[in-house]
Amino acid sequence: MEATDALRDKVSAVYVAESRRVLATLIRVLGDFDVAEEAMHDAFRAALEQWPRDGVPANPRAWLVSAGRFKAIDGLRRRARFDQLDEAGPRAEIAVVDEHAWADDESVDDDRLRLIFTCCHPALASDAQVALTLREVCGLTTEEIAQAFLTPAPTLAQRIVRAKAKIRDARIPYQVPSAAELPARLDTVLRVIYLVFNEGYAASSGARVTRHDLSAEAIRLGRLLVDLLPQPEALGLLGLMLLHESRRAARSSPSGDLILLEDQDRSLWNRDQIAEGIRMVERALATRAAPYAIQGAIAAVHAGSANAAATDWEEIVGLYDVLLQIDRSPVVELNRAVALAMRDGPEAGLAIVDTLLAAGELSDYRFAHAARADLCRRLGRRDAARVSYKRALALTRQAPERRFLERRIAELDAPPRSPAGDV
């Protein structure tokens, strides 16, 4: 039977709205990612055949889960050569559909969380966590993910196949972690989401500064997680991402060049995203000082400042101090040093950056060398600045960042009219 166009549209709409929920529940019911995926596609195929004739069921999601489960079990039995079932013919249809069996929202939400925590299980490699989350939770195709990460599609496909094999063979359970395990496991989920966001926001390589699709996907994931598990850490990350995302239009010139925070046209910042971001950060901080929420609070200080000079650097340095107490890392110390340089002058910042670089952990971190170069430039130490800009350039694969660094080096070689630069 031919599906009418209207019905085809209806099934497509249900696919967009419900396919991830249907998949999450089918994985629980069937216990296997690949079997569940095939079952879900079979279920939507069955919908296209049966809904034109029988009407759209009252609860399409429950219908699809029942149909998928039936098709999968039927398929497994067939493969096990149950002859009497084979006689039912290849177009066996769903005999009984219990529309209430998988309809309650609570267990469906739990299934979505199970899927997120399984895809982000720490026993999977970090790049596999990212690929699997985008594939299974967000529903991106392997080709879309490969393109976004500039990875060959077969490499990415193999990464996903291996991850699924490990889930099956090492028996990674389809579970929301227990209360004791939750903080550490949630950290991994948040790291995956933030990695996706950052790849979209400050792509590590490629022609453009940002890849909007990945950032939007990360924000969608952040919202989903906040809906399902409104922990301060998740609220803080969503707030932080929204506050960063609010600057997108101001971060690059029409020709695709990078514009630093201090030089951005702040009237281009998205006020709605700022307002929502601040709300999320405040909600998080009302419970506890989660690291992402503190980073969000720092972004919120920038969002509320008319320009770099009018920024409350005292407040920002103070927030970095709080962050360091919870989460001491060389990258946070570097960011604090940059803020401190804005408060106390480049000399003070440079002393800290040099200590950090001497410790060795940041020697391959391009932003550490770029920060040192910038501080030396402000101090008029051109030779030292040039060395550090070149070091940063050697570590940068992203075209707009390379152009920015090359421009800075060229300015050092032929200083503009104001010899003191833009201190």
Partner: protein, 114 residues
């Protein structure tokens, strides 16, 4: 005296010896009362490494990476899933100083292998 006999195989030639031969070998040793325990393992891609540092459990994909570390012992445990196995592994004392590689065992099957 007990001895541990460790089996090494090339990654792309894991099934160079048929499982049924290994099963027969195990049965023979068991009949002679020589065998304490024997298991085949899933490939290295299924490995998870558990370490405990400063009281915090860290879990990573893959086998141990420190080349200076050597195989120092083993525990064959029963667990419902990887999470349970990780919980047990994180309580094994050397997890604090070295690392524990957690690898699922593989059921031998008479049809697998050449």
């Amino acid at each position: 005296m007990k001895y541990l006999c460790l089996v090494y195989m090339e990654a792309d030639n894991l099934h160079a010896v048929p499982d049924r031969e290994c099963m027969a070998c195990g049965d023979g040793l068991r009949e002679r009362g020589v065998l304490v325990a024997a298991e085949a393992l899933q490939p290295i891609e299924t490995a998870t490494t558990v370490r405990v540092r400063n009281g915090r459990v860290s879990i990573t994909d893959g086998p141990f990476a420190e080349t200076k570390e050597q195989l120092a012992g083993f525990y064959l445990i029963e667990a419902a899933d990887l999470n349970e196995a990780i919980a047990v592994a994180s309580k094994i004392p050397p997890a604090r100083a070295g690392s524990i590689e957690v690898r699922p065992v593989r059921q031998l099957h008479p049809d697998i292998g050449i």
